[in-house]
Symmetry: none
Subunit: 425 residues, 2 copies
């Protein structure tokens, strides 16, 4: 089965936008056992688009076209496909119905520009878009099945998983039944985890594909087999790898780290709070992105300045002066203050130097102290994550959530990052 991608958009051509959609499509298809074997990217140019649709469809079984379904004049996919098919464009009744309903729920008027999104090549079949105004559509050109998909990532993702992939899978031979396990791991880098696994298991079975994908802040570890006969093997190695990587595994489903923490808190009937300095609200924001967060989270404090650490969280002014804001003493008091003010059962506090300024010889940019636990048992630790500001904030926020996760699970074995992330001296 030959699957090709055609990506459209001037913003991809100029480099204004990183093409993450094609990687998402490729990964989702691969998980369903179909490998993308060619990608072409063109700008919003009608002739070029018509030419590529004709060329690519002539040499493949399936073609996914991504982008160009929007309401503006540079959205040309429908017109180009009509050109390649040599058919007229017409308003599609199902598409216009979708658009009217879409605008209706949002209290918009249906503009002329929006109406254009329903003008499609004659003969296409609509693919529902549950997330956006632009419907997808599909049609055969010669022996190639063409899918036209929206450029907005979450719309694309939903359309792929609910509509397009099930259809693709139904076209595969029955023995070809890929199955995979994905672990989401926190704490290991790609190369260190690979080394750990291959050194422990030098005779790794050939049928079992081992893959990694860095997906900040987590590392995805993938085990995959292609055929039904190897499903048992996958199960066996699922267990072996799970044991080896241990408490570093956050989940083997698709939940985010924050969602895992929210679920754990809910299960244990506990609430959490955060006192954030250098992460500036990111930890609270990660938690509250999870639906159901309100059951486990009541309050967070972004105490960026020293004054606020004292006035709101009750950190001792003398200690701030003596040890500095980035110190064990201060994160301990920040946590204690946040637990008291919020009434939460557990919490994390964070104080560090995100940079690019504010570093010293003793505490360079990238230094961070965390305190976590409950009023009865607080743990603290210093870490060192040099790198740019946004990277630092992301990794430290994830670290805070991971420490809470380990605490809630009662994992006693120290994580690998306790060894690896020491402050240089």
């Amino acid at each position: 089965m030959k699957l090709k991608l055609l990506l459209t958009g001037n913003e991809l051509m100029t480099g204004d936008t990183l093409d993450s959609n094609s990687a998402m499509i490729a990964q989702m298809c691969l998980d369903s056992g179909i490998q993308v074997n060619y990608k072409a990217t063109v700008s919003d140019d009608l002739d070029q688009l018509v030419g590529e649709i004709s060329r690519l469809s002539a040499s493949s079984d399936m073609l996914i076209i991504n982008g160009g379904l929007g309401p503006t004049t540079d959205d040309l996919t429908a017109e180009a496909l009509a050109g390649a098919l040599n058919v007229d464009l017409e308003e599609h009744p199902q598409a216009i119905k979708h658009l009217i309903a879409w605008c209706d729920t949002r209290n918009y008027d249906l503009s002329e520009a929006n109406r254009k999104q329903a003008i499609l090549p004659k003969g296409v079949e609509i693919i529902d878009n549950q997330k956006g105004s632009a419907v997808g559509f599909k049609i055969k050109l010669g022996h190639c099945l063409i899918f036209c998909t929206p450029g907005v990532p979450h719309e694309l993702k939903t359309m792929m998983s609910r509509e397009i992939l099930p259809q693709m899978r139904s076209l595969l031979p029955t023995s070809h039944q890929p199955k995979r396990v994905r672990f989401r791991v926190f704490g290991y880098g790609e190369s260190s985890l690979q080394e750990h696994i291959t050194k422990t298991y030098p005779n790794w079975p050939k049928q079992l594909e081992l893959g990694f994908r860095a997906s900040m802040p987590l590392l995805e570890l993938k085990l995959k087999v292609d055929y039904q006969e190897d499903h048992k093997l996958l199960e066996k190695w699922h267990t072996k790898v799970e044991k080896l990587v241990g408490g570093h595994i956050v989940t083997d489903d698709s939940r985010s780290l924050a969602k895992v923490v929210v679920d754990l808190l809910a299960k244990q009937n506990k609430t959490v709070t955060f006192a954030e300095s250098c992460t500036g609200g990111k930890i609270a924001s990660m938690i509250t992105e999870v639906s159901g967060a309100s059951d486990v989270f009541e309050a967070g404090f972004v105490s960026y300045s020293n004054t606020i650490k004292t006035s709101v969280l009750g950190v001792s002014e003398a200690d701030l002066h003596e040890f500095g804001a980035v110190s064990e003493t201060v994160v301990r008091q920040m946590l204690s203050g946040a637990l008291k003010a919020s009434g939460a059962d557990v919490g994390v506090s964070v104080s560090g130097i995100a940079g690019p300024n504010g570093g010293t010889n003793e505490k360079p940019v990238g230094t961070v102290y965390l305190a976590w636990g409950s009023q009865n048992l607080v743990q603290t630790r210093a870490f060192y994550f040099p790198g740019n500001r946004v990277f630092f904030q992301k990794i430290v926020a994830a670290l805070a959530l991971d420490l809470i996760r380990r605490d809630l699970l009662g994992i006693e074995e120290a994580p690998i990052y306790f060894r690896e992330r020491k402050i240089p001296n």
Copy 2:
């Protein structure tokens, strides 16, 4: 001048690696006045590579091939190029010299695998790689000049700027001098802005390209001309469009909305605070991602529960009971409490229903109240943003920053979203 890109690598095909190189190449070329007009991506497959090199070189003046110069067996660019050129491979004296020197400075032995990086198609000219072991090379195939470049981003970048771009620029006619303006806009959707512009200016000049790019939470509006003779025209329309879109323009440089707000606060010597309920720390997080945030931001409060709204921000329990947490009265008191507790000059408070649960007939999911301003002058308003939870939080956090921005700038004209985002009733 037709410039095409050929990207190679299984990791690009499977989606394990996001292709950032092609965006980098495209941006660098564009800044030099040359637009990439086609990209093809193939896996490490010799036949496919040879085919694509032949096909692409036949229809372009320049072809940049990226990747496949490494020492491993799946690095096939040299072999594929030799196939397309129909010449032999041979060890290139300049390349082997580079490799020996490279290993020498690093105290490595020159391995057989590394030696492969000097086996190149007969007749190529070496392009120096100051950053890595793999040299680049170039050669003409028909009338197309082919450049082979390394996949490691910083090696590619250096090679592009020092070697390849100067050569490309020397081939351009002097009249061809592209120039562009980019506005970052908040409040308009792509279609409504396009309609606004094209209705106001039905005789839009043909030489002036109008482009849009949705880049949540901002919309990018681009004006571009290709030739020196049109630079004046661009300047004129820069002013016209700026007037038309008015206060909705956040910036005409590359700053984020949060950075613009931080810069404005710094300039006016003011500090800001946030009392966030449904945005859960996202506003504070956006501000603190900006380096220099500590000069303008001291404290934020994530008051997710009613208890905390009362205990930390001093919201009246009776009012919470009477009007509900999502109400004008409560956001007004949240803001007042946050301004008092933080001592900040200005602030925003937010309370809304992010969903998927918690909506009522009167206040459906997507309803949000904001209060903004200073102790002396507080404004409030209700908005309605149905959609998923994460989208809701992102757009509301951006809205909060935009309201602060408008307040700081003293913009009196009401933004378009005051009209469009009413709660249905």
